[in-house]
């Protein structure tokens, strides 16, 4: 049913449909509305769930880890410093192959402290062993949570999934959203049946010490699963479309006017809405421009990206994060996707914009296209304020 909802409220409503037995979270802006709404839903008796109010994100992640190991479906959400504070547990959850689902309401990282949106938080945890999916709008954010649970709990996967949605832009934005019906959710997402669980009827030990004779195989297994997940994502996306009639393709990337384009921007998340507007405007003027939207960042869909862009002349990668002293997080993957390949763009330039909530406007996107020339650039910052830089560094 279509409803006009705030993004956070829509997420809380879909988590209600998912029926997690245990929810645990610690408040951090801009994740707060999601967990406040869930707390109210539980308090109203609309969802039978144990809502565990913890003293930190480290414990929020630990609570859902323990609950998931006991065999129940779980949910948590966080942002920014909260994600960093739980980082140790985040890696641990993946290593223990627990199908935890988390919302990351993307926000900048301190210092300087900043509560506004960019994607530095989740992208910094790219090596954690979590599948990461990035939503463009609230409809996707809602639907991706259903896909996330289905994927995490797939016996071929058994890995945690992080659904990333831009803080404030999506979490606090009002959109008309087609909310999934409970019966369809139940059809798509059957009751969770764990492979292993902590149960006195069948005692087992979890989280054992693996010495050099055993450690590598455990890590290798996750790497293999990540690779296999690329196909499973696509398979699950098809099933989702069959039930909900919303098509997310292979769930890896979205090609928007890429066919026949000579300049393509690669980006991720809500900024893609703005980019599409510029593409439409430019295409109407006969310019051959397009957008490749990365939906799944981990596992990274190298082959899919290669296929989509192998005949494009120039690519601009737009990151809302930096890897200080190196290529930005999406840019580095784009370079890797084409390294040593016969075909591929002549130019893959890397741009950084929208850090700490600085607006990415239509003009920002035009500027990206203007700077996308034959001269390749690396981590070129867009929309810097010269007057502030002058103050800092002198002339």
């Amino acid at each position: 049913m279509k409803e006009f909802l705030e993004g956070s409220h829509a997420i809380a409503e879909v988590i209600k449909n998912v029926r997690p037995g245990v929810i645990s979270a610690y408040p951090i802006t801009p994740q707060t509305h999601i967990v406040e709404d869930l707390a109210q839903i539980v308090a109203n008796g609309e969802l039978e769930s144990q809502f565990v109010n913890v003293e930190s994100e480290h414990s929020a992640a630990s609570v859902v880890l323990g609950a998931s190991a006991t065999g129940v479906r779980v949910y948590t959400a966080t942002s920014s410093q909260g994600l960093f504070y739980m980082q140790e547990v985040v890696f641990n959850i993946a290593g223990m192959r627990l199908p935890v689902v988390m919302t990351c309401a993307n926000r900048a990282i301190s210092a300087p402290i900043n509560i506004w949106n960019d994607q530095q938080d989740s992208l910094s945890l790219r090596d954690a062993g979590w599948i990461q999916i990035y939503a463009e709008d609230n409809q996707e954010a809602v639907d991706f949570h259903l896909l996330a649970y289905r994927l995490a709990e797939d016996k071929r996967v058994m890995l945690p999934v992080m659904v990333c949605m831009d803080g404030f832009i999506l979490t606090h934005g009002m959109e008309t959203t087609d909310m999934p019906e409970q019966e369809k959710v139940d059809k798509f997402l059957p009751v969770y049946k764990p492979l292993y669980k902590l149960d006195p009827a069948d005692p087992m030990s979890m989280g054992l010490l693996a010495d050099p004779d055993y450690y590598m195989e455990a890590r290798f297994a996750i790497q293999e699963t990540m690779r296999e997940s690329l196909g499973i994502l696509t398979e699950i996306s098809k099933e989702f479309n069959n039930i909900f009639n919303r098509d997310y393709g292979d769930l890896l990337v979205e090609e928007y006017e890429v066919k026949g384009a000579d300049k393509v921007i690669v980006a991720m998340g809500s900024v893609c809405g703005t980019i599409k507007e510029v593409i439409d405007e430019q295409r109407a003027k006969g310019k051959k421009v397009g957008l490749l939207r990365i939906i799944t960042y981990r596992p990274f869909p190298y082959a899919r990206v290669y296929e989509a862009l192998k005949d494009v002349a120039k690519v601009a990668v737009l990151d809302k994060a930096v890897s200080l002293g190196a290529y930005a997080p999406i840019a580095v993957e784009m370079k890797a996707a084409f390294f040593g390949k016969k075909k591929g763009p002549k130019v893959i330039s890397s741009f950084v914009a929208g850090l700490g909530g600085r607006d990415i406007t239509l003009e920002t996107i035009h500027e990206v296209f203007r700077r996308l020339s034959t001269k390749e650039v690396n981590s070129d910052f867009i929309d810097l304020k010269p007057e502030l830089l002058k103050e800092e560094y002198g002339d």
Binding site: V52, H58, V63, A67, S205, Y214
Partner: protein, 292 residues
């Protein structure tokens, strides 16, 4: 040892490890309907080196400092599954993972009122990493990071009072126990598990390697700590001191001289006097002295 023990032999603890004995007593007192969450530390390492495990009950290790939070999740999940009644949930760890790095998670678990027993195996330093001081290392103890030297007589601060920190959360049961007093330890674990809500037991567990005593002296060392008043055994029920083990106090030297970690003090009567004061304060505070 029984072959069907809930904590089986064949693990890799040092000979005379007080923690290994205490951990077995705890799980056997709790029985098979128990789930344990264990912090990183000696106990975790020596009992669960893949592909073997010593545990006969469901057992999970996640990280160094989060067993209290993991156990909170286990308890919440059992409630969600409608299975909480009849299953004991125990969180456990060493003194460092309990009172230092894990104190916040422990506080959260206690404050939220989970029906969980937290057991701290207190060997008074970070033994797993090579005998570094923790917040629960006693005054004047020689460890690798609080070494005695020309300018130092060992650890400069008294032992952190974790049982009192737990008491301040208003929880229904707080007790100390010792690997040297087996029946007392077993009784306290059973009593704790009969009470609903958060419980805390701190067990004094000698470490022959870190305390530098012979392996076969573990029980004597543990007993001497209690008999000198340096490790008082007490119970608080609903915030009230409901019992303490009565002693005819021995001078603290009787305990200190058994261990290499206090060797540097034996020719230093000034420092021994300070330690005797700690014991005397305990004797007064917890009414330890046998009334004739």
């Amino acid at each position: 040892m029984e072959t069907n023990s809930l904590f089986k032999s064949g693990h890799t603890a040092c000979a005379g490890c007080g923690q290994a004995i205490a951990a077995r007593l705890v799980v056997e007192a709790a029985g098979p309907n128990t789930i344990i969450a264990n912090n990183t530390g000696c106990l975790e390492v020596f009992s669960t080196k893949y592909p073997e495990t010593a545990w006969g009950v469901p057992w999970i290790h996640s990280l160094f400092e989060n067993s209290a939070a993991v156990a909170s999740g286990i308890e919440a999940a059992l409630i969600s599954l409608g299975k909480k009644d009849g299953i004991n949930v125990i969180a456990q760890g060493g003194d460092g993972s309990t009172g230092d790095i894990g104190l916040q998670a422990l506080s959260g678990m206690l404050e939220r009122g989970h029906d969980i027993l937290y057991v701290c195996y207190d060997n008074e330093a970070y033994m797993n990493t090579g005998v570094q001081r923790s917040g629960l290392t006693p005054f004047d103890t020689n460890t690798t990071t609080s070494p005695a030297g020309k300018l130092s007589s060992g650890n400069v601060r008294p032992k952190k009072a974790v049982p009192e920190i737990c008491l301040a959360h208003g929880i229904p049961y707080v007790a100390t126990a010792s690997a040297g007093f087996v029946q007392d330890l077993t009784r306290k674990v059973k009593k704790a598990l009969s009470i609903k809500g958060p419980k805390y037991i701190q067990i004094h567990v000698p470490c022959p390697l870190g305390w530098r005593h012979e392996s076969n002296q573990m029980l004597s060392v543990a007993k001497a700590a209690v008999e000198t008043g340096l490790y008082p055994l007490f119970e608080y029920e609903s915030g009230i001191l409901s019992g303490s083990r009565q002693i005819v106090p021995k001078p603290v030297e009787e305990y200190l001289k058994l261990q290499g970690r206090y060797k540097h003090l034996l020719s230093n009567p000034e420092e021994i006097k300070k330690i005797q004061e700690i014991a005397d304060n305990n004797i007064k505070k917890y009414n330890l002295r046998v009334v004739p």
